[in-house]
């Protein structure tokens, strides 16, 4: 698409990749980041991309998006991405899916998707980082205040995912085959990707077979939203012209209805509020899921919200598969009025359930009335990242 339609592309990396192993040499931490920035620039150049920016987030191996946002400085990272949207004025933004998924599920990926989505909704808002859009008083002078940028509203946003199961992606966005031939290079796009990947020596610990599988997979995009119409699965540039579009306000945070409610906490609670706030509630694509190795501990945060005017006593009951254990054992929680009780559960699966999916369920009641229930599908398999 980039090549065939002569599209211009730029890339923002929210980290410089300062963590993880080094398959090429001894360099670690900041030195590794320096090497990886060069690798990325060389790789991008191999397929015609010359503009890239590296933000100051630290590479944080884990699966909790809120951890990355905290480590990076959420506001500072958002400031930089909004600025770069105003500089580059993109028609389309491509980014990681802001969702918790079984797969690599890297928290830095999720955080990049969260920030890109927020920036999509803020770059045309003059109250968002207004110092960026203040006109310089004398543009040829020195000591000007204001950055002199213009407001800019991107038109579409699409996501991609590091999931290991693709069932939920079908029909949710355009899919591109990688065996199509590059007109200029006369090789399949998978080959272009493999050549681009070769520049990442510090991360290239794949076998040839793994690299072949990785680069020959179709590119599956997930439609986020469009301000210029078009269907979810149509061409990414359908409906896009060179004319700017007006600022479109996202829905924003919608508080829950008054009452008692049980829900999954942590990143799940965040996304539950985040998606409707940004008009992407259709990203609720599958039942909540997680991954844990047999014998290791799965963190399950639960949240009891009490949006009533009186304190409430809530009884929690769990329904776990045979052989699973849960701590703590407390089952009765007192939740003050207009407050929430965050329950941190540690769940351990038995070895016998290795390589199976299990469904865990928790339900709550108060005063003889059901408060609700939540389920979590768990893939009992090892994941390279800590949860």
């Amino acid at each position: 698409m980039i090549e065939q339609q002569h599209k211009r592309v730029a890339v923002i990396y929210t980290t410089r990749g300062n963590s993880g192993g080094n398959a090429a040499g001894q360099e670690q931490a900041n030195a590794l980041a320096d090497v990886r920035e060069m690798e990325a620039r060389h790789s991008l150049a191999s397929y015609g991309v010359s503009d890239a920016w590296f933000l100051h987030g630290s590479d944080t191996p884990g699966a909790d998006v809120l951890h990355s946002l905290g480590q990076w400085g959420h506001g500072a990272a958002l400031d930089e991405i909004v600025r770069l949207i105003r500089v580059t004025r993109p028609e389309v933004i491509l980014t990681w899916m802001p969702n918790y998924v079984v797969g690599e599920n890297h928290e830095d990926h999720q955080a990049a998707g969260v920030l890109a989505t927020e920036a999509f909704d803020l770059a045309a808002n003059p109250l968002a980082f207004p110092e960026q859009v203040e006109a310089p008083r004398e543009r040829l002078g020195i000591g000007n205040y204001g950055e002199g940028l213009r407001l800019w509203q991107p038109k579409k946003i699409y996501y991609f995912s590091d999931t290991t199961h693709f069932d939920f992606l079908h029909g949710k966005g355009p899919e591109c085959q990688t065996n199509d031939m590059s007109p200029s290079r006369k090789v399949p796009y998978s080959r272009v990707a493999a050549e681009a990947w070769n520049y990442y020596k510090t991360q290239n610990d794949f076998t040839d077979a793994q690299l072949k599988e990785f680069t020959e997979m179709p590119v599956r995009l997930i439609f986020g939203k469009s301000l210029v119409g078009g269907s979810a699965t149509s061409d990414v540039f359908e409906g896009i012209t060179s004319a700017p579009v007006a600022y479109t306000r996202a829905r924003g945070y919608v508080p829950p209805a008054p009452g008692l409610e049980l829900e999954l906490g942590g990143p799940w609670a965040f996304y539950h509020a985040f998606w409707p706030a940004h008009n992407i509630e259709h990203l609720d694509l599958y039942s909540p899921e997680a991954q844990v190795a047999p014998g290791e501990t799965l963190w399950v945060p639960l949240l009891i919200r009490n949006d009533t005017d009186a304190p409430k006593q809530v009884t929690l009951r769990s329904t776990l598969s045979s052989g699973w254990s849960q701590k703590p054992d407390a089952t009765i929680y007192t939740v003050p009025a207009h407050d929430a009780y965050a329950i941190q559960l540690k769940i351990t699966p038995p070895a016998a359930h290795k390589d199976t999916w299990q469904t865990l369920k928790w339900s709550a009641e108060s005063g003889g009335q059901s408060v609700g229930s939540v389920t979590l599908r768990v893939d009992v398999a090892a994941n390279g990242l800590p949860q």
């Binding site: 890339v11 990396y13 491509l94 990681w96």
Partner: protein, 55 residues
């Protein structure tokens, strides 16, 4: 009559001065087009861009 002509002349000159002040403003500087893109990728790490290179 001289007074009247002087008045007309003064009005003419004054209006001419005010007209000469309504000059065309210089064009508003355009955003720097060298960095305009069609697609902006926002990713977490070096190598994440490979996810869509095949595209």
């Amino acid at each position: 009559m001289k007074v009247f002509l002087s008045f007309v002349l003064a009005v003419f000159i004054t209006s001419g001065v005010s007209q000469s002040r309504a000059q065309q403003a210089p064009p508003n500087p355009e955003p720097d087009s060298r960095y305009k893109v069609d697609i902006l990728e926002v990713v977490g790490h070096p190598d994440d861009d490979i996810e869509v290179v095949q595209n």
